[in-house]
Every structure is written in C-alpha cells, then in structure tokens.
Symmetry: C2
Subunit: 560 residues, 2 copies
C-alpha cells in the first residue's frame, strides 16, 4: 500500500462540492476506415477492461484510519473493482455539434468523483458527425499529476495506424514496457519527509495567524534566498471578475489553432512560442473583460508553468517552474503588449536560473498548490495569487492513433477555484495547438466567446507583425476549416475602433521597433471585411452537418 504525500492529500482535503479537484481532457478521434462506430467503441471499452494487474493507482481506492484524511492515507486495491463503472458510454443529443459535446463535458467535469472507488472515469462519447467520436476522461489530482497523465495517454497511442494494443493501456505491464522504451533512468521520488517539511513550513506560516501575503513572502524568501517581485506570486495582482468566488457549475470551450500561425507571431517579435500564446490570451482576456465585466487598470497576472529543462535532459521530467507573467492587459498596443509580456517572462526565468532543479521542483510543488491549501481557509478570494492560469503542455508532434482511430485533437480541462475562476490549458499536437478553456458558469458568463476573442487577438498580432494570413473563405465547405466555431450568437462588440487604433500605433512604431520585425499591413479594409463575416460563417458551419474532411477537428476558419 502506497502512502499519499502531503500535496496529494491537500487536493483531497481542499475538495468540496464547488471545487472538485480532478483534471480531465476531451479527445477527438476519427474511426478507422470501414469500422462500425458501435462495435469499435465497445471494442475500445472491452480493451480498456482487458487488464490483469492495474497500473497504480487506477485500481486502488483510498484507505484512511480513524482520523480520516487528516491521518495517514494509503492507496489500497479496490476489492470489488468495477470497470463498467469507470468506463462509460455516452452520447450527444442532436445535432451533435461540438457545442453539444462541450455542454456534456462541462457537466461531466462539474461532478465529483466517487471517493470510495479508484478516482477516475472515462467516457466514450458517440453522436458526432463525420465519423468522429470523443473520449472524455477525468482523474483526481491526488491520483495522477499532469506529467503522469500525459505518459498514460501516450501508452495507448501509437504513430502506427495499424497498431492494436494487446492489453489495456491501464495495465501495469504495458506501463513498464513503455517506461523501458523511454530508457529513462530511475529518478528518486521526493521522500515524504522532504515534502512534508516544505508543506509544513508553508502551512505553519499561515496557521500562526500571519497574513497570507507575509506567509508566502517568508516562505519564498526562506526557500530561495532572494525576492524579485516579478517572479513571486501573490504580489501586485489586481482584482477582476476572473477572481470571484465560484459555484459548482462549469462551462468549457475548446478550439485548435495551427501551430505555424502562433509560431510565426513569436518569430516576428523575437519571442518564444509561449510568449506568443500569452500575448494571444492576453488580447482575448482584455476583450472579454471589456465586453463582459470590467478591465482592471493594473495588468492581469498569469500563473504560467515554464520548462527549465535543458535539451537532451530527460531525467528531470518535472523541472518546470511556475512564473507569474505580466499579461500587460492594460496596454492597448499589441506590439507593446507583446514586448512587456516577453520581458516579464524573461525576468522570471532569470529568477530561477541559479536554483537547483530540486529547489525549483519543490518551489513549484508549493506555488502550484496554494489553491489547495488556501481554499479551505477561505483566503483565495481575498488575495488571489494570480488572475488566471495559462498552462502550455508540450504534446506529441506527430499524428497518433488509438487502435487505428486517428487522434484529431486533445483538449485539457483543468481546475478552477475560488479566486481563480478561469483556466486556460493548451496542448501542442501534430500541426496544431489545442486550447481548452474552463470557467465557473456563474461568475464568468459567455466564456464561449473567448474563442472568438482568441482568434481576433491572434489576427491583431499577425496584422501588427505584418504577417499575411490567407483570407478565410466565406461559407467554408471543408469541415476542417470552420467546424467547431460552435458559438451561435454573433459577437456584437464594436471592434473597428480599437483595431484601427492598434494598427495606427503599430504603423507609427514600426520603424523604431526594428527588433519586433513588425510589418504593418496596408490591406486592412479587405481584412476587416473578412472578419466581420466570421460570426455568420461560424453559425452556418456549426449548424451544418458538413461532409467528411481529411481531419475534422476543433479549428478556426483561418489556416494562415
């Protein structure tokens, strides 16, 4: 029986009806040629159940003593493991668009996992057109951390469309094969005492009655011996609608963008892919708050895990650090905004540069769990540590298959808490970047519009960088071009004013900012027209049961 460490237990202890502590994902697949949907999905479920010894803790349930979760807690094998309970068939109501898929997934993600059983569920979802099906999975954060869940999903995928798994991807045997295949050296896990001492130090600072701000400052100072304001969480974070208390209902949306588009923006401004993602999200959040709530005067801060791993280093798998990126949402000019974001990320990276991987990892274990530790104390909504979490999860860069079904996209669903009512997580997969956005349904209405705002933000960056994007076609016929634009209501925000202003600024700055390689675009009129018709296209595409395409996935109309 494996004992749970302090961090895992924090996810259990802090969980309540409004704040389930599970993470999930929804993946889109295309059936193999000639396969019958019902038979194929039942075959997948059967193959998931074809397991002798389960990979821990997928066959384990929690075992506590008389003190409950406050005392020692272990994983023990579930004596009546009921895989029919965990592996489920579901279906979408008509017309089976991504809108119906997101609605179902929002509901499934909003309910608690059953505590007396292994802490995961998998849903095979039928009812999508174009021979697609979806898989939603949810796993408690106490059972599987982000890194491991990616490895587990890799066990079931193959680059070979003819490969068929002989055992369940949840079998211990396959897992060990996979690990051996990676040729990863065994890396010692953190000892419980290490984790406990760090956690206890943090907890003690809070329990002793000190202000949370001081507790975090003290902790961070103690651990890393210096105090650079830009990198420390819990500092200079404005209040916003993103940081309200939450209820238990969620809304989820997802969309893919071509990796090349975001990478081109990064290159144009001499930034990283991650910088470009943050800039794209920043523009979208700026618009969202302007339209649906109130944009704070101070810039929003994002919690962003960044990889500090050196190329070729596979040993320090978790060598990531959480940084607090300045999203510069108070800045109107997209170029200036990009520069500010880039600079703040660099400062944060410098902050970590002299730390050992082990120090960084321990630090990250703490800074990623304030929600878990602060939530039960009711302090999250009083002092939000960040405004929003934006996580970029490196995925697989080639097309993968599960028993012959082609993976078309994979969209993460993370955790939102009191004070952090939205989470944006993205996964790079094949030629795409797959974004999953989840938010509290009550405190953040209409988050489905974030997808439009993200596209507008990317286009604004492309315009500022002078990148020529292919004009999107009206009434797209290929499902790959605009299916997934599932929001039926047109965005009524007047955009011309801010756009025009941004472009004027961009022109003025073009010469001074040689570094940014910005080539202001002159054909703005044609572009604006294309954009104005986008919501109408989206509506048409969302209602149409369009013909099968090469790779239908949740993607915008624009392929530039």
């Amino acid at each position: 029986m494996k004992k749970l460490n302090m961090v895992d237990k924090a996810f259990l202890l802090s969980e309540n009806r409004e704040t389930p502590m599970h993470v999930g994902g929804v993946s889109l697949y295309t059936l193999p040629p000639g396969a019958n949907e019902k038979e194929f999905l039942h075959g997948l479920a059967d193959s998931m159940r074809n397991v002798d010894t389960m990979l821990p803790p997928f066959g384990d349930r929690l075992k506590t003593g008389p003190l409950g979760l406050v005392g020692n807690t272990y994983w023990e094998p579930d004596p009546a493991l009921d895989l029919d309970y965990h592996i489920r068939h579901s279906a979408l109501p008509a017309p089976g668009r991504y809108r119906e898929l997101f609605t179902l997934v929002s509901r499934l993600h909003g309910t608690l996992l059953e505590r007396s059983r292994p802490l995961w569920e998998m849903h095979l979802i039928e009812g999508l057109p174009n021979r697609q099906f979806a898989v939603y999975n949810k796993t408690h954060h106490a059972a599987v951390d982000g890194a491991r869940s990616i490895h587990v999903s890799r066990v079931m995928l193959s680059a070979d469309p003819n490969h068929v798994l002989e055992e369940s991807p949840l079998s211990l045997h396959l897992w060990e094969q996979y690990k051996a295949g990676l040729k990863m050296g065994k890396r010692p896990e953190h000892t419980t005492s290490e984790l406990r001492s760090v956690s206890d130090m943090f907890k003690l600072s809070i329990d002793s009655g000190a202000h949370v701000f001081n507790a975090v400052k003290t902790f961070a100072g103690t651990l890393v011996g210096r105090g650079n304001g830009m990198a420390l969480p819990h500092m200079r974070v404005p209040r916003s609608a993103l940081n309200a208390p939450i209820d238990g209902a969620r809304r989820f949306v997802a969309q893919s963008w071509p990796f090349a588009r975001i990478k081109a923006v990064a290159k144009a401004f001499d930034g990283t892919f991650n910088d470009a993602v943050l800039a794209m999200c920043s523009g979208a959040l700026r618009t969202y708050l302007q339209v649906h709530a109130e944009l704070p005067q101070a810039p929003l801060k994002a919690m962003v895990p960044v990889s500090l791993r050196q190329p070729g280093d596979v040993d320090s798998g978790n060598a990531v650090a959480a940084i607090s990126a300045d999203l510069a949402t108070n800045i109107d000019d997209p170029i200036e905004r990009f520069e500010r974001i880039k600079a703040s990320v660099q400062v944060s990276k410098d902050f970590y540069a002299e730390m050992t991987p082990r120090e960084i990892e321990l630090f990250f274990l703490i800074v990623q769990s304030p929600a878990a530790i602060l939530a039960p104390l009711g302090m999250m909504s009083k002092l939000p540590p960040y405004n929003v979490a934006i996580s970029n999860v490196p995925g697989i860069r080639e097309t993968m298959y599960w028993n012959g079904a082609r993976l078309d996209g994979s969209y993460p669903l993370s955790i939102v808490t009191d004070g952090m009512a939205m989470n944006i997580t993205l996964v790079t997969y094949a030629e795409s970047v797959d974004f999953g956005i989840i938010a509290c349904r009550r405190s953040l209405p209409h988050i489905q519009r974030m997808i439009d705002y993200m596209e507008e933000s990317l286009q604004e960056l492309e315009d500022a960088a002078g990148i020529k994007a292919k004009p999107a076609k009206k009434h797209a016929t290929g499902a790959g071009t605009s299916r997934g634009r599932t929001q039926a209501k047109a965005n009524t925000r007047p955009k011309t004013k801010t756009k025009a202003k941004a472009k004027a600024k961009a022109k003025a700055k073009a010469k001074a900012k040689a570094k940014a390689k910005a080539k202001p675009k002159t054909g703005a009129g044609a572009k604006a027209k294309t954009r104005a018709t986008a919501p109408a296209r989206a509506k048409t595409a969302a209602n149409a049961q369009s013909k099968p395409a090469a790779k239908p996935k949740v993607k915008t109309g624009k392929q530039g």
Copy 2:
C-alpha cells in the same frame, strides 16, 4: 423569502457525497404523430423556459447567514436564474435500449445538485427506438416533498392529446390555476415551532446518550401514548445485505406490470392492492437475498407509507402514516407469507386508528426522516430502522399527455442511505403499476435481476391463488409484451425446488384456507416450461429494435 423548516433543513444537513438527498423520476413518452423528435424536444425545453414568475422554490436558491445551514435558512430568488443549466438535453448511446436509459439515469441520480442554484434538474433524453423519449428529473427533498412533486407533474399533463400548455409548468400562474381547479381548501401548514418541538424532542433523546432504540420508543410512546410492537419502527429488524453502509454509486431498474394482475392476486387472498405489492416484493427480496447474499432468519421489515385518508377527504392531503410491515421473508409458502403480511399491515393500521390526522402527520414527519437525522450521527448502519422502503404512490388512472406526447410510464427514483441500501417505489398509472428500484451499486450487486424475481414472485402468487395467466408467447413480436426486460444475463438460480414445494403446500392448504380462494393449478408442467424460456425471450427482446406498438413501455412479457 420563505424560511425552511427543520425537516427540510435536515435533508440538507444530512446530505453528503455518498448520500444525495434528492428524489427523482424517469418518464417515458411517445412523440405525437408526425412530430420531429429534435424539434419537439427543443419545443418542450423552450416551453419549460417560457415563464414569467416561477413557482417557488423552482426559481429560488438557498440563503444562509454566518452560521450556514445551522442558522436560519431561507429561499431567495436566484438573481441570475439560468434555465439552460436546469433544463438539459441528453442522449443514449447505441443501441438505446432501456438498459442504456437505466445506466444513464443511475449516473444522473448519483451526482449532487448544485447548492448555489435552485435545487432541481430536468433531462430530456433522446435515443430510444419506437418514437419514444424519456424525461429524467431530480429535485432536492428540501425543496419539494413527494406530494407536491406529484402535483407539479400533474400541472404539465393533460388527458387531452390536443392540449398544449401556454406557459411553463413551472410558472406560478399555472400552479395557481391548477390549485383553483382542485377546489382544495387552504390548509394551514405546520408552524415552525410545532415542527421544531417534535424534532427537538427526538434529537434530544438521541443526543442525551440514550440508545437509539430507547429514544425512538420514548418518542413514540410520548407522542401516541401506546406501544404496539408491530407498528413501531426500529424494533426487531434483522441485519441483512440491504442494510450495509453505502457508497455514492447507484443502480436503477424499472418495470411495469398490469394493475389487473396485482389486483387479482389481492382479491384472491382477500387483501388490499398494497398487500399484494408487498407480497410480490417480499418474494423477490427473498430470492434476491438467497441468490446474492444471505437471507436472514428473521423476517425483513419494510417501511411502507399507507394512506389513512377517508374517501372524499381532500383536505388532509398528507394524512399518510408510515408503518413497519412484516415482509415474512422467512416463510417459504406464498399463501402463508401473504397472510402474515396482510395481518401485520392491519395491526399497524389499527395502531394509527385512534390518532388524529395531525398526530399521524407529525408522527410520519418524524418516522420518515430518521435517515436524515440519524445518518450524520453514524447510527444508521448500527441499527437500521427498517430493512427496505416500499412506497406505493397513487397516480393517475387515465392516459395522459404532455403537449401531445403520450405518457407511457413514470418510474420513481428515491433516496438510499447508510443502512437502507435499496428503495422500491411504485406509481399506479393508467392500466399499469410502474416500479422503480434503486440501490447502492456496491453493497447490492445485480439489482437488475430484481425485475425477474418480481415477475417470478407474482407468478408464484398467481399459481397459489389458482389464477389462470395467459401463457407468454415465445419470441414476442409486439414491443409492448417484453421490451424493457433489459437484463441480458439469464438467472441461473435453480427454481424448480422451491416452486414445487410451494405448490405442494398450496394444494394441501387449499381447502382449509377458504378465505384465500386459492385454486391450486394443475398444469404446472406447462407453466414451468414457459418460465424457463423467459430469460431467453427477455434477451431477444432487449436486443431487438422491435416495431412500434400501441403503447411500448417497460413491461413484462406476461399480460395475464
């Protein structure tokens, strides 16, 4: 703002992850001729949302003060009422049998309602064959008691297939029209102080450290001034698998039987319809425990609400009492079992005979809520007050329609708790009796087989009473005859022995028991053969997408 009374609050306070305190129902409908399923279901959802002022508390959320639910608690209008959240579209995966419906409904019934919103959900479920659709609703017991929920569902139904509601059935306006139509006199609700004093007395007895048995005995003695053992709950109840601690996962099955069959058995043994239902359930529970667990030597006790209302009395709408019926599960002979059940029900009714309706009602308010009051004290599994709850809810005896869709059946889903892991609730509707059985998925496996055992038990009673049932046809073609027998696995229990024994006894007693009008059947061989093929028929019918029938509903193959 309406204040919640003690009983309503008890349902909220005692609720936890494993024990949601909501009740629900799943109804089957047939689309009106020519209607398009998608359009019709969206039309129903739209009409549900077409409401100006909501019937309280369907538009209200809970409002508590600094003490939370322990302090005063009120209903207040939800300032951001989101009917899209409450009214949902769902679908069944292929092949869309009742089996898939029950699986979906089991899952939906197992999750908690969102506490910060009005405490109800409604799911319009598509994907059934034969132009049927289903509606699952769940409502917190703190918001709506059983009697009111029936009235609400009656508001939306009409005996006229051409009637279309002009407003939402959840509108206050329609509710007031309905109440006026009933010409019911205003009846004073219990004052809070009345309820509080009764609840407090009960709670005090427990809190003062006395044994629960004594507490209940004292309470009952104080209130009614006498103590007849057969009627008092918490007495002489054997331990059984039905009384284990539960987890949060449920399994639900449902089935309809012809009212005439059960009534004929009641008449043959000179008992009531309710006596016959209890005898039918008793035989099934006996078999279930023999096959899947252990049959206790002492007879099981059932909590059975019985109506004490005089004909023509509409004023005392809640004049029902809870009795503890002896299910006589230790008795092999079906005739003797029936007699024992009948006698125990009569003793209980006598017990209440001299009480005022008000006394009875208060008594019932308490005896129906021990789960709510005892569960948080962890006493339910130590001293189960009853083994199982069997509730017979009088329904509408004519065919009803919702905006033209014909109601084919309506199956209740009640609450199970630690120590009461199964609940059987039945509703009489038109020519049928619609049973809904819900149980904890872990402690009571394979409850889907209860449906077979219920049919066997009814046949055994029919045999003992000498009622000639039409022999069921092999490979039934009409959907009305055996669809809904969704359990795919055949029951492997050897039945011939107990059956033969019962019949031999029945023959011997036939003359002595003139009152029972038992006519022992001689053609037992033919009957036994028919029965042996039943599981095979069920399997065929469950897999077949059979042609539309006049009234496809969850029904057994036997129409006798």
